[in-house]
Symmetry: C2
Subunit: 210 residues, 2 copies
Amino acid sequence: MPRLVNHDEYRQIITSAVWKVMYEDGVEAASVRRIADELNISVGKLRHYFITQQGLLGFALDAITERVSARIKQHRLSARSGDAAAIEILGELLPLDHERSVEVSIWLSFLSKARHDKSLDELKHRAWKGERYVCRMAIVATAGWSYEGRNFNEPFHNAEVEKLADELHLFIAGLTIQSGTYPDKFTPQVINIYLRDHTVRLNKELGDYA
Amino acid sequence: MPRLVNHDEYRQIITSAVWKVMYEDGVEAASVRRIADELNISVGKLRHYFITQQGLLGFALDAITERVSARIKQHRLSARSGDAAAIEILGELLPLDHERSVEVSIWLSFLSKARHDKSLDELKHRAWKGERYVCRMAIVATAGWSYEGRNFNEPFHNAEVEKLADELHLFIAGLTIQSGTYPDKFTPQVINIYLRDHTVRLNKELGDYA
């Protein structure tokens, strides 16, 4: 690692190392020692940035959240709608390329850890809300409704529409764990077929609402 | 631990300890040392039974597979059919009581580990087939077809029906990870509502086939 780097660059370098280890060997493997080894720096130096493995995990997750949020925001700004737009929005959560595969892998490792670690409860529930946000946005896209003035953090006023968001959320969770665990069966092409089929069905069920 | 126990009892005692640790702290925590501590025996003694953590994990998973298979076999023997039977069959894979919560927890931890450990590939794919078996059986149950002479290890002859098994499999995967991760949101009552709704829809789509 070069001696003179600014704080942001340093964070970026550390993030890459954390992500690499988590992707290759899982969250548990990403100890402060292992990351220090990966970066070829002392544990003491790394501890200036992260005291605990918890800190490293939070850091990796914040990076995921930022990246996914930025991509979702782009979709919102483009204001495209229809089935194809909905599929692209949902696809931001799925392993459709290397970047997203790394994200999903870290994501699932985090959920696994969060099942046994109460200190991750708040993060876990924040994660749930983020996913639901994306599902609601995809529903609005596929229905062709305007994004204008909508708060995707809030449930739909119509309980039947919120129920569709609920089912979509469950479907995306299933597709995430299956594609993350069985990448041989769930190629990007297969994932897109599932997304398309579900979106077509969703659209039929949304037909009656406005 | 009593000095004189037969081999089966000993395995039973070890299984309980492995399960307890995996349930409370995750698969990663269930090292040979930790299990030995839990049983208050020496690592050397435990190593007569398990050389590695892999061995412990395989042991815990075999125990799950045996238990789930035995319950599924009972359903098959009872030969009950209809929506209620299908819901009960699928429910064997979900955290509807303490026993199944422990199973699901270990199961998800295993999948998480299997994403980073190629040596678990065969076990991971065997797990997939077992789940698909249960999904096919639930489809036959909800459609009211006879179990007689069916091999649930094989895809349905009708590709459209197999596609419904495929979607059911994905739905169950989603319900498993969500209920395992967010037990506060997915109470047994909520899980059963999801199962009922999905079975009702499935039944409608199965209406045209025989």
